[in-house]
């Protein structure tokens, strides 16, 4: 290797260390260092990407081992990095979009005295995410996995003095932990059967694994991915994670960390390809989640929470894609990349609105902002059009193919999944339009003391760039990315239309559904909405309560957990403390009784002396004569 890969990770990591260790001394220039380090990583990543492009298609990988991480005999794990087409696009996404969001955060967090600490954590996140996508074995991926989990926790509860923020951070971390445990179990299984955790070795030995093993590994990896990506059943933490500052929501909970699950499944495609049931599970999770998220997104009034549920739903599309397999792998990655652009744009736009509206988040108190925040309106609008999938913006080129792939499935599965995806698209269009219209159009509903104003250039410049990406990236990617990713996913040619519906039909249907949903949204909300939440029917009430997801978690996990805790505390107090205290009491009681031997009378002492002398004599005689 002429130049190594590890600086990609080391630069943001070193910057994070400097920012966090230097403390207040770095307050004046900390944010600049933070942006610069991610910028440097982006430049490095671009250089390597171009170098990768220069390599022949079948050898398109740069691999290096920095040092031996675990040098135990059979379990020899290297700190190894692999830059191949899949990790290359991820590196560009993370560093590129990450850089833009870092710049935005300079302005957004300008009045926050913890800004330097924020950038320290942010850089830590970038370093960990890069390690996740660059690792060449599952343990390295897990190392990055844990790192992003930590950074997410630190950033969600950034304003830790707020109880809701601290609780949200905890919730995110604990639910992530469930997924992490599943991931670790998958690694154990892999090691047990393949005697290695290296990508190459594991994938090579997939053929020799029984279907039970591949199913188990697949399901465990799926559960891990659900935890990190906020899919059903581990979705409840993602909306609560909106307690963190908006740049955090944009980078971590929209563009990058939540896509780590998709990356994991995409990277492990040989395992999933080997077991149809595992793939079916992924498809089921994706389909259920995309509908789930879409329904809830319709009933939320907090601008960031709507976007959060939208993220849940869109990642459902990505899971659907990687679950369908074959050509859909690349489609899911394309959607992931496009989603990174427009979701980041949407979140940063929301942050801009909040910045101008005194940190108000309730869309019922927005309205008619397009005059006051023109740049935000324009960029948000482009991102909105992208997410609902209107051609020729990027969302169309990423989402529609997935829906088409869904309908390529044969039999009832194709109908069910395809319809669900289509429906999801329509509902997505509806609630995103609702959000857009209620925020920027219609009569103004805000209070008198609020003076909406546009954000400073340091915040609007990234918005513009992201909007450009949302508009253009789709077309560019759809043509080049599938071929680019061939070495990773295998170049299966698409079987010629054996599905239930053909491509063209699906495309037309999806455009129609999208327009219908958007139109409905515009019609219902162009005149604004009530200032307060009004009681509504069962579906809306359920949607407001997150489709009882939190209630379910509380009843099934939290309440028994509390009982378990109480039982253990009781056991500890009575049993273990009882044992220890009982021992002490026994000693005390015993000594209390034993002290009565000390009568104080010389004659009783003489008695014991004579007894002792007798024993000694007996022992002596026993030895000599016995």
């Amino acid at each position: 290797m002429d130049s190594p890969l590890w600086p990609l990770i080391a630069v943001p990591l070193a910057s994070a260390a400097v920012l966090l260790l230097l403390g207040r001394r770095a307050d004046r220039w900390g944010h600049l260092l933070g942006c610069a380090s991610v910028g440097a990583s982006f430049v490095l990543g671009l250089v390597y990407f171009l170098r990768l492009r220069g390599l022949p298609a079948d050898g398109r990988a740069i691999e290096e081992s920095v040092f031996t991480f675990i040098p135990v005999e059979e379990l020899k794990v290297d700190f190894g990095l692999l830059l191949d087409p899949l990790s290359g696009v991820f590196v560009l996404l993370i560093t590129g979009v990450g850089f833009l969001i870092h710049v935005y955060a300079v302005g957004y967090m300008a009045h926050d005295e913890g800004r330097r600490r924020f950038f320290g954590y942010f850089n830590l996140f970038v370093a960990a995410m890069l390690l996740l996508v660059l690792g060449n074995n599952y343990v390295m991926v897990y190392l990055g996995w844990e790192g992003v989990g930590l950074a997410s926790y630190l950033l969600i509860s950034f304003w830790f003095t707020r109880p809701s923020a601290a609780t949200a951070g905890k919730k995110a971390f604990i639910m992530n932990r469930v997924g992490d445990a599943a991931f670790v179990l998958a690694i154990f299984l892999m090691f047990a059967h393949a005697r290695s955790v290296d990508f190459g070795t594991v994938f090579a030995s997939v053929e020799s694994m029984s279907s039970g093993v591949t199913l188990a590994i697949g399901l465990l990896l799926l559960l891990g991915a659900c935890g990190k990506s906020g899919q059903v059943p581990l979705q409840a933490w993602l909306p609560d994670a909106m307690e963190g500052p908006t740049p955090v929501s944009a980078l971590i909970h929209a563009a990058t960390m939540v896509t780590a699950g998709v990356y994991l499944i995409a990277r492990s495609n040989p395992i999933f390809d080997a077991n149809a049931n595992a793939q079916a599970a992924v498809v089921a999770v994706g389909a259920v989640t995309l509908v789930f998220g879409a329904i809830i997104g319709c009933a939320k009034d907090d601008i960031k929470r709507v976007l959060a549920w939208s993220t849940v739903s869109q990642i459902g599309y990505m899971f659907l894609g990687v679950g369908l397999g074959g050509a859909a792998y690349a489609l899911a990655i394309i959607h992931l990349l496009a989603h990174g652009f427009f979701k980041a744009g949407l979140f940063l736009g929301a942050g801009s609105v909040m910045h101008g509206m005194n940190d108000e988040v309730n869309i019922r108190r927005f309205g008619g902002l397009w005059r006051h925040l023109p740049i935000t309106w324009a960029t948000f609008g482009i991102a909105w059009l992208a997410i609902i999938g209107l051609p020729p913006l990027s969302g169309f080129f990423s989402k529609e193919p997935i829906i088409a792939e869904a309908f390529q499935r044969e039999g009832w599965a194709g109908w069910v999944i395809g319809t669900a995806a289509l429906l999801g698209a329509g509902v997505t269009a509806f609630y995103m339009t609702r959000l857009f219209v209620l925020t920027f159009h219609g009569p103004k509903r805000w209070a008198e003391d609020v003076h909406p104003h546009e954000s400073p250039p340091v915040m609007t410049a990234p918005l513009v760039l992201l909007a450009l990406g949302s508009a253009a990236a789709g077309g560019l990617m759809a043509t080049s990315v599938p071929d680019w990713l061939n070495p990773v996913f295998g170049g299966e040619a698409e079987p010629a239309g054996h599905g239930v519906l053909g491509h063209t039909t699906v495309t037309i249907l999806s455009i129609v559904v999208t327009v219908l949903g958007a139109g409905l949204g515009w019609l219902l909300f162009r005149r604004g909405t009530a200032a307060q939440e009004r009681p509504a029917g069962p579906v809306v009430t359920a949607a407001r309560k997150n489709l009882y997801g939190d209630a379910f978690n509380e009843a099934v996990f939290e309440a028994p957990g509390k009982y378990l805790t109480r039982a253990l505390v009781y056991f500890d107090n009575k049993g273990i403390d009882g044992l220890v205290n009982g021992l002490a009491a026994m000693v005390g009681g015993g000594s209390g009784r034993l002290r009565r031997v000390q009568t104080g009378y010389v004659r009783s002492y003489a008695l014991s002396m004579l007894g002792g002398a007798l024993l000694v004599a007996m022992a002596f005689i026993a030895v000599r004569l016995g």
Partner: protein, 254 residues
């Protein structure tokens, strides 16, 4: 229990002496332990020591036996009696035992010890042949003892003599009653105390003066005819005098 032969064997005279005096010694020891009166205990111990002295003489140790009788019994036991008379006469043990189970445990342990030591030593001595002291006493017992004492054990001898001196000095110190300077009563104070109201200036009368009997326990009589308690020592037990004792003995008639 094989027969022990040759010079050290027990002759008939010795056997007879043993079987008479040994039970006597045991009875004396038991009596010493159970006697209520402390002086009686001392006297029983004297009996035991005399028996032991005889045993020493019988076993070819005349010097030691006589030393036992003269020194141990004669001096040490008399010392005991002196001290008993001084301080211990009143203090007779009560029958009630304060410590629970002390007597039972003591008896058991005593029997156990005797059983153990006695039977084991007797068994151990079974095959031993007693050599007897005829050869050692060839020049006489005293000469033999002197020969061993002042050669092999001369250092122990010197040490014990130092011990005796230390004991004598220590006893003097312990028995010394320290009288403080203030306690010293001068002649003037003594006279004043003697003639103070409430104290009788005359010498104490001895017992039996002006009395009708010659018993030391008879209280002397005061001029008015009543008995004087001060004339009888307090340690003597009080008892009612019989008619015969009160009656004049007629000793003043020639």
């Amino acid at each position: 229990m094989d027969a022990i032969l040759a010079a050290g064997a027990v002759g008939t005279g010795e056997a007879v002496t043993f079987w008479i005096l040994a039970p006597l010694a045991v009875i004396g020891a038991l009596a010493m332990v159970v006697a209520r009166n402390a002086v009686h205990s001392a006297l029983w111990l004297v009996l035991v020591m005399l028996c032991l002295g005889v045993f020493y003489i019988v076993q070819s140790g005349p010097f030691l036996g006589l030393a036992q009788i003269i020194v141990y019994t004669g001096a040490i036991m008399m010392l005991f009696l002196f001290v008993l008379m001084l301080v211990g006469r009143d203090a007779s043990d009560s029958l009630i035992e304060v410590l629970r189970g002390q007597r039972l445990a003591a008896a058991l342990l005593g029997i156990g010890f005797v059983g153990l030591a006695g039977t084991m030593t007797y068994r151990a001595l079974g095959p031993t042949v007693a050599a007897g002291l005829t050869q050692a006493n060839a020049g006489g017992n005293v000469q033999g003892i002197a020969g061993v004492l002042f050669t092999n054990y001369v250092f122990a001898f010197e040490a014990t003599s130092a011990l005796l001196i230390a004991a004598a000095v220590g006893a003097m110190l312990l028995a010394h009653i320290e009288r403080g300077k203030d306690d010293k009563v001068g002649q003037l104070e003594r006279v004043r105390a003697r003639f103070a109201p409430g104290s009788y200036p005359g010498p104490k009368a001895g017992p039996g003066v002006y009395a009708t009997s010659s018993s030391v326990a008879t209280p002397g009589r005061l001029p008015d005819g009543g008995p004087s308690e001060r004339t009888v020592p307090s340690i003597l037990p009080r008892r009612e005098l019989t008619e015969a004792e009160i009656a004049p003995k007629g000793t003043d008639e020639r």
